[in-house]
Amino acid sequence: MVKLGLSKKKKTFTYLPGQEIYFSSSSFGWETEDEAVNVCHNRILCVIGLFIFIYIVIIARIFNVCLVNGIQFNQESISYYRPRLRGMSPVKRANITDRNGVIVATNLPTVNLITYPYKISNPQEIAQKLSEVFPDTSYEAFLKILTRRSKFAYLRRNMTPQQQAKVNALGFPELEFEPSEIRVYPQKELLSHVLGNTDIDNEGIAGLEKSLNNRLNNSTKDLRLTIDLGVQYAVRDELIKAKEKFKAERVTAIVMDINTSEIIALASVPDYDLNKRDFTDPDIKFNFATLGVYEAGSVFKVFNTAMGLDSGKIKITDSFDATKPLKMGWHKITDYRVPAKWLTVGETLIYSSNIASALMALRVGKKLQIKFFKNMGFFDKIENLEIYEKGRPLHRSERSWQDDTVATAAYGYGISVTPIHIITAFSAVLNGGLYTPPTLTQENTFRKTRRVISKQTSMDMRKLLRDVVIYGSGKNANVPGYDVAGKTGSANKLDKNGRYIQGQNITSFVSAFPITDPKYSVMVVMDYPKPLKETYGFVTSGWNSVPTGGKIISRIAPQLNVRPNFDVDTQREKILKNYGL
């Protein structure tokens, strides 16, 4: 019934809702008289058209993608396909490295042996076989775990790959492996007090591991310290030798970049191998450098003199009467081996006179002294240092800070601080007068530098302290070529009841080099060094801490690329003489 020709239907372009949309079938080559059939045809045509359209779009897109444009990757698809090499750490806790990138703490992937005791039917057999694989654990111990009335149990943590292979070869389906991690310290005892330790679940329990626990767990980026491992080794090596030689109870040393207060080395001996995780002896875990609060003695004269000169109340040419002891109420201040005469500011430091220092402090006064000590950070825990173990200084309250305290604090009695307090303040005195809180990591952005003394006072202090090493108690640390400046200090130890023990000293030596343009400061503290034949029975700082400090400086200075300042002409003559000219 198909009839070619023009449609008789009238073309309409407006439709009511729901009304059939009517195409003229004549334009497609057929026409029927039956309206219903025409409607069907129209619908089929619509569907065919739709499908053709979809296929054309798909084909066009395939051509477009494959032949015209190639495959366009966006950032998202690239990151999906490209393996993330950087920052893709196989372990969860971040590494710690020294300032040169040498790893000092890292996690290694290991495997734990686990089991579900309620599922086990043959505990005796398994325990027997396991005790053969692990000879250090007894059959009974394994049996106890296997027969425990619990759902889950650890049989062994952190197995070696060989042990894992052996257990696997036993073929017990009840034993399962669980991926795990173990914190290891490749440098063993070298940084024990700085790094601290982690517990069995790899959570920090001491040192930087504890204070920066969140940082280490939340980012896999290496944590870079300011410590230089080579310097740290040299310092620790010298400390061990010194401890043996002087039979001291404890020896500690800090090396600091004098301008940035970055800690280059921090060692306290005795120390311990971090990998052994032996927590039985709390004594070796004690970090004297940051936790050991002690009366520093004469090294405080550095701060006393700086305070006096900076206040303007004392001039560098002033003299003080050290001919007789100074009476302060019931207390009498005396000197130890100091010539009884009027001493200049320089001589006060060279001879380390308690009397002259006390007189200086009394002239400056209580108010300024408290303000100065506060500014130097002596009244609070050391600011912003990342380490967990930080000692709180012991001092009198401002109310009870009377003249006798002013006088004794001048030479380092009546106020107790930690070695890190002293070296940081000492650096500020010599670097031009700027105090920067110390740091152990290169991520510390909270530190704020402040001026504590004027530049001129700092320059004067450099000269005065250089004289102490040339003429005074620091002679044994006068390393040729490095222009060392420093101050010694020996203070009586306190017994348990807070009384001074005669003959038992804590000796300190704080120094900086080269004083013409200070780069590094070094502090050595010895707890109860014994008298030796070669020290003529003396136990004061000049005989033990000072030579140790000197040895440390002569060893680390070339490592730290500090050029020795020898006289060129003398050096040349020496060379020519060597060649017989």
Binding site: G29, Y233, Q571
Partner: protein, 119 residues
């Protein structure tokens, strides 16, 4: 008309078969590539883990104490002493050596060895 229709149908069938086969081959290739990629990624992960372990090992081998021991055992190297660092301007001037050209060779063991061997 029916010829045209048949031709069109055959054309469509051909296009469908060609596209279908091409698509099948493509899918297969992509699947293979993805498998390969997954394997490479696994290998990379393993390598990264191995590198991580080796880095720890390297750090342990570079322990200053151990290096010091080895240096003492195999090479006669000691710590640098400050006196060994010489200022460039402290070196003898050329004029100072006139008349004594062999002085350096005389005092220099290595140079002496070289001179002797050449004779």
């Amino acid at each position: 008309m029916s010829n045209v229709k048949t031709a069109i149908s055959i054309l469509w069938c051909l296009i469908t078969v060609v596209i279908g086969s091409y698509y099948f081959v493509l899918t297969n290739d992509v699947q293979n590539l993805e498998k390969e990629l997954a394997q490479i990624n696994r290998d990379i992960r393993d390598d990264i883990r191995d590198i991580h372990i080796l880095e720890a090992d390297w750090s342990e081998l570079n322990n200053p104490e151990r290096l010091r021991e080895l240096a003492g055992k195999y090479i006669s190297l000691d710590f640098i002493k400050p006196e060994q660092i010489i200022n460039y301007s402290a070196l003898p001037l050329e004029g100072e050596l006139i008349g004594n050209p062999t002085m350096f060779a005389k005092n220099n063991r290595e140079l002496r060895k070289l001179v002797n061997s050449e004779r």
